[in-house]
């Protein structure tokens, strides 16, 4: 569980902090946040994390369960997740080889904010689609 939720009380940045140019919002927070956002926005990472949250999986189990992924992207994505410390890779030296992937605690803790985003998406998808259709209709005419 993630009770280390250092709840930052949303220190509203007072717009233009005069002296220091607009490096406040970018370099301070976003340099750290952006890589994480990229991982979440990645085509396959979140899906893999969600599947692994149900339990460890072997390589081809994942491949079968994720419709449309190429083995190249599965490998690459798993390597990336492993590198970030979100997933562990366990090799059992047998014939045939058996490799098991599982979520780390870090990976597990990522599920909460990601699911929050997922819930937001589910709750507002109709609203978004409507906006898109309106926009497209306006643009085409």
């Amino acid at each position: 569980m993630l009770e280390t939720h250092t709840d930052v009380p949303a220190s509203r940045s007072p717009e233009q902090a005069a002296s220091s140019p607009q490096l406040s919002l970018q370099s301070t927070g976003c340099r750290n946040v952006q890589p994480v956002l990229s991982r979440v926005g990645d085509k396959w990472s979140v899906l893999i994390v969600m599947i692994l949250s149900q339990g460890p999986r072997r390589f081809n189990e994942l491949k079968r369960q994720i419709d449309g992924i190429s083995q190249r992207m599965l490998t690459l994505t798993l390597r990336g997740l492993e590198r970030d410390g979100l997933v562990t890779r366990t090799v059992e030296a047998s014939v045939p080889p058996k490799v098991t992937y599982a979520l780390t605690e870090l990976g597990e803790s990522l599920r909460e904010p990601v699911e929050a985003l997922g819930h937001w998406a589910m709750a507002h998808i109709a609203c978004i689609r409507a906006a898109q259709e309106g926009f497209d209709a306006r643009a085409s005419q």
Copy 2:
């Protein structure tokens, strides 16, 4: 990415109507969630949303405030956000023209889950970096 194209309706089977305990991101939810995740993972969208959450901004205000963005990407990103109904674009027909961008309620509501993700990122960035360095060290030797 910015092309959150309106996906096919894809009539849902009514099997898991209201009994799904967990938000299944693989089957039903994935198609709805993924475009949103792409937007969040987008290089500039979240940054723009965060800035606009402090109040409406004009085009060049945003451009000045967002270090490193090209005006092409600013335009494209704002169009995408507008299309998704997250941002409004208001043109004041004057000379010189004045265009103001502001968050919609939908855009404002996105801030919460995104900030949750941001907090997660800030809280675990050290952990992630350590994992990455360990991984890289292991890989290079």
